[in-house]
């Protein structure tokens, strides 16, 4: 009997029924990342929804609309990427839609008015994104270990988008800034930077 035959026997003896709980092992780190980042933002920052009375729900709706779209769509893409043999091109390409919408709104915004830029809190915003994005990115990386990604760069990129999306979701209620230019520069660019880092680090972090 060859080594390969004995390995086949050993594997077969364990049966084909998958161990339970792999879905939970995927979802839990993502939820924990969201809760931890939101908790950190709430614990450190003051003045959530401070400008709600003066501006109404518009600004936070746009910010959360964008960030929650990423937070909800990225795990679907990660789930697909973690299943070998599944085509993921469209699932990942769809993640560009929120960015394209921001670009469209930015063009509209710039043509209509010129909001003050960069505002007074951009440094706090960048700091929050720089701290929270890697935390949530780590959660996505841990989640992916429950699956079997075979395109590690693409999986790393989507994990980065999730990380950035979670960071923005957590910080947005504390952000008094308005305007699409601000959103493009201080939210979208950091998110894309995190995605780029994920693309680069994916092959090292996601090997299995």
């Amino acid at each position: 009997m060859t080594n390969t035959d004995s390995i086949l026997d050993e594997l077969a003896s364990e049966g084909a029924l998958p161990a339970a709980g792999h879905s939970l092992r995927f979802v839990t780190p993502l939820l924990v990342a969201l809760v931890v980042c939101t908790g950190i933002a709430a614990a450190v920052l003051d003045g959530a929804f401070a400008d709600w009375e003066s501006t109404g729900p518009g600004p936070i709706s746009v910010k959360w609309g964008f960030s929650l779209a990423l937070v909800l769509m990225a795990p679907i893409a990660l789930w697909t990427l973690g299943r070998p043999g599944r085509k993921s091109t469209w699932t990942v390409a769809i993640l560009s839609i929120p960015f394209l919408l921001v670009l469209g709104l930015l063009a509209l915004d710039l043509s209509m008015n010129a909001a003050s830029f960069p505002g007074e809190t951009w440094q706090q915003c960048l700091t929050a994104m720089a701290i929270l994005s890697p935390l949530a990115f780590g959660g996505a990386i841990i989640a992916m270990r429950a699956l079997a990604p075979t395109n590690l760069k693409r999986a790393g990129l989507v994990a980065g988008l999730f990380g950035g999306g979670v960071a923005m979701t957590a910080y947005a209620p504390f952000c008094p800034e308005r305007g699409m230019l601000y959103m493009a520069v201080f939210y979208c660019l950091p998110i894309l930077t995190m995605a780029g880092l994920g693309w680069l680090a994916g092959p090292k972090l996601l090997r299995w």
Partner: protein
């Protein structure tokens, strides 16, 4: 050498049926599934991996990966794309870990092949069965004892080209010897 798939291939749905039965608790079906997967992956790897010992290493990694990641195959989805995606991933990962190109251009490895396989054989007779360029490369490096660099300088080709000729020649020789043994 196992470089060609001379088994009659099972029907495309055979893997799917075996996996479906396996998931209902039939361990015998799972053993059959793994054996069939092993045969198909071996056939795929044989076209891409040089040495047999290396092929077995990658094959075993693939089989373990199929087993440990079996929860990533959704019920009802075809097994083939899933299985080959994992096998391809493991092959690329193997090459990455090894840090070399897919072809093994290793002088020592080629010398080992000669020592293990061609002892007590009519080497000149075997060399006659090779293309002249490969036979000449092996004569220079394995019979006259020149290094690849010395041999490449003597016949005026690049060092890498010489290594490639020697490598391909040695692989072909091993195939010929294996065919004669069978």
């Amino acid at each position: 050498m196992g470089r060609t798939d001379d088994h009659k291939p099972a029907s495309s749905g055979a893997l799917d049926r075996l996996m479906a039965a396996s998931r209902e608790g039939d361990r015998k079906a799972y053993r059959q599934f793994l054996a069939e997967a092993s045969r198909r992956i071996r056939s795929m790897l044989a076209r891409k991996v040089g040495a047999d010992s290396e092929l077995e290493d990658v094959l075993q990694e693939c089989l373990i990966a199929l087993h440990t990641k079996r929860h990533t195959l959704d019920p009802g989805r075809p097994v083939g794309p899933w299985m080959y995606a994992i096998a391809n991933y493991k092959l690329i990962d193997h090459w990455r870990k090894r840090g070399r190109s897919p072809l093994v251009l290793d002088d020592d490895a080629d010398m080992d092949v000669a020592a293990d396989n061609f002892a007590e054989m009519d080497v000149e007779g075997l060399l006659d069965e090779l293309p002249e360029a490969q036979a000449e490369a092996i004569r220079l490096t394995h019979i006259e004892g020149l290094t690849n660099r010395e041999a490449s300088e003597r016949i005026g080709i690049g060092h890498s080209a010489m290594k490639l000729r020697v490598h391909r020649g040695m692989l072909r020789l091993k195939e010929i010897v294996d065919e004669k043994d069978q």
